[in-house]
């Protein structure tokens, strides 16, 4: 008799579930000490389902295949001087932000999933978390590898890990993950596995990566899609854990809803960075941030929450505010960075006429009315040799750590401020969403490491901004920072392509 091959379900059962055992001489609560303190009630871990039924042997096989494809493209990109084929050098600034702001989060996710993968009592959840942890480690490695090629030809990449832990705007994504990793294991899963992976990462890894392809960046689109192919599995894990928690006990529903509210809002705030990458940093544009938001949050997220309604789960609180913000988010965020480009390790610029027209077309309700006049004014100042840099340090939101530059949605000319007083001290927030998060866990957020406060308290190595940037952040001043126009990046780009700026031509003519 020939042995028949086991089917997928049986293989998964044998190679996953059967790896578990009963604890005969240890108390189960000592083995899994973090399973109860968050108030989540699990009655039967065997109800956990992994819809992909992926076993470790298949995992290694297909991940190896993905890696081979990926590295073939990295090699081709490097061998063929791919850096010269991007649409224009301004684009590379989005990649600088990616390496300093996003890739270290992959490393944090690797740590986080390794941790929670140890803490769950169910073997199905443990195996899925283990695979996700390995995926995240792969992502950070492949991203550093892909972008190391850009580091040879452009400024601002050299100290990404050092910068991630210190620089003011990188403290936005860093504190997001610190917050998730210092929560309990179930909150981490709802935060990262569900709210971030399922509801929001598509916005980063799908339309932005498609945009990278459209701008000739073969390396980035490839690591992006390769990472997102793992994300498809992570999203599914996130959805499964939500369904599992909601089915296990009705007491879990309000806890999960609160986490969804919190992490949806934390996530949308962090994605403000992606909104400006899409609308301002891709010279060839595929779709606007607003369009991407409509497809990947309103449509896909809407379908998801409709599906979860049977458990009593509702759309995240402040989804309405986030939807209204799609008209404003990228413009307001780009304005903040334009103001503070002297303190950033990447370049900004004012959009040219053609780009402004595209923004007017994509944002007919807001761009011409609120943002175009401001940008034209800044462009005039720049032409007059007075490029505007904001010399003060901004107040930061205690929760999301973004400078307080977002406005009320019913009045886009009025900056949104919220405050709470806790133990006699006043704390400031950019929104109702961020204030609610603080008010529910003030003991956690009073400890926020706010970059501006730290600078003023003298904890960042210097008494003036220049010293902080140079010595504490390790930025090469006049090289990594300031406007793209006139930067060494721009000069090199023009040399490669034998382009002459109008200014150079004038100089030579005289």
């Amino acid at each position: 008799m020939t042995a028949t091959k086991l089917n997928l379900k049986d293989r998964y059962r044998l190679l996953t579930r059967d790896l578990d055992w009963e604890y005969s001489y240890q108390n189960r609560k000592d083995v899994f000490p973090m399973e109860e303190f968050e108030g989540i009630k699990i009655t039967d871990w065997s109800k956990w389902e992994d819809p992909f039924r992926l076993t470790m042997d298949a995992y290694w096989k297909y991940q190896a295949e993905k890696e081979k494809k990926l590295y073939a493209i990295f090699d081709a990109f490097a061998q063929n001087n791919g850096q010269q084929n991007v649409k224009d050098a301004r684009y590379v600034n989005a990649i600088k932000l990616f390496l300093t702001g996003v890739s270290p989060l992959e490393y944090q996710a690797y740590n986080g999933f390794a941790h929670v993968g140890r803490q769950f009592g169910g073997v199905g959840a443990r195996v899925a978390c283990q695979m996700q942890s390995l995926d995240e480690l792969r992502h950070v490695q492949t991203q550093i590898h892909a972008m190391s090629h850009y580091n040879k030809h452009f400024d601002g990449f050299q100290d990404f890990a050092h910068m991630h832990d210190r620089v003011w705007y990188l403290s936005v994504p860093k504190s997001f993950f610190d917050d998730a990793r210092s929560a309990g294991p179930f909150e981490f899963m709802v935060a990262i596995g569900f709210s971030f992976e399922y509801v929001l990462t598509n916005l980063l890894f799908v339309p932005f990566m498609s945009g990278a392809a459209y701008n000739g960046d073969m390396a980035t689109v490839t690591f992006g899609f390769s990472a997102q192919s793992d994300e498809a599995r992570h999203m599914t894990l996130g959805l499964e854990i939500i369904k599992f928690l909601l089915e296990q006990h009705p007491d879990n529903v309000p806890i999960v809803q609160r986490w969804i509210n919190k992490w949806f809002w934390r996530g949308t705030r962090m994605l403000a960075l992606v909104s400006m990458m899409m609308d301002y940093m891709l010279p060839n544009r595929v779709m606007s941030w607003k369009e991407a938001w409509e497809v990947y949050f309103e449509e896909a997220g809407g379908a998801l929450f409709k599906d979860l309604a049977r458990y009593g789960i509702e759309m995240p609180a402040y989804a309405g505010t986030a939807i209204a913000e799609k008209e404003h988010l990228s413009h307001q965020t780009w304005s903040i960075f334009y103001n503070y480009t002297h303190a950033a390790a990447f370049h900004t610029w004012m959009p040219d006429e053609r780009e402004m027209d595209w923004l007017s077309e994509k944002y007919p309700n807001t761009f011409d009315k609120y943002y175009r006049p401001r940008f034209e004014h800044w462009r005039e100042m720049e032409r007059a040799g007075e490029r505007f840099y904001n010399p003060t340090l901004p107040m930061l939101c205690q929760t999301c750590q973004i400078p307080m530059g977002f406005t009320e949605m019913n009045d886009p000319t009025l900056v949104s401020y919220r405050q709470s007083v806790y133990k006699g001290e006043r704390f400031n927030f950019c929104s109702d969403g961020c204030k609610d998060i603080f008010d529910h866990e003030p003991e956690k957020y009073v400890q926020s490491w706010l970059p501006v406060h730290q600078i003023y308290q003298g904890n960042c190595g210097g008494a003036d901004v220049e010293t902080v940037l140079k010595d504490y952040y390790k930025m090469n001043l006049g090289v990594d920072n300031m406007d793209y126009r006139g930067s060494p990046d721009e000069q090199r780009w023009k040399q490669w392509h034998n382009l002459q700026s109008a200014e150079d031509k004038l100089k030579k003519a005289s």
Partner: protein, 89 residues
């Protein structure tokens, strides 16, 4: 009914998979975007091994879909014969 969706990298292998999906899900909408192909359908979508094998002219495991997969939306069920995506509402 909400739309489920799947996005694949735009490459040779995916073209066969997309052909198979189109055949098995005649109402699905196929959208070509830079470097990717997005397929969406009301409530349900299936990628069937048998049809993909017929298009490719060789054996193909459903799990090999992950190599070209970018993202998906919907409740997933994967067996030896198919990957399906569904929304209940």
């Amino acid at each position: 009914m909400s739309k489920v969706y799947i996005a694949l990298q735009d490459n040779e292998e995916s073209h066969y998979i997309v052909e198979a999906i189109e055949e098995d899900n005649p109402d699905a909408t196929v959208i070509y975007q830079p470097a990717m192909i997005r397929i969406e359908n009301e409530g349900f979508l299936a990628v069937k091994r048998e049809t993909v094998e017929e298009k490719m002219g060789r054996d193909w495991e459903v799990q090999a879909l992950h190599v070209n997969l970018i993202t998906l939306g919907g409740n997933v069920d994967e067996t030896d014969d198919a990957l399906t995506l569904t929304w209940n509402q």
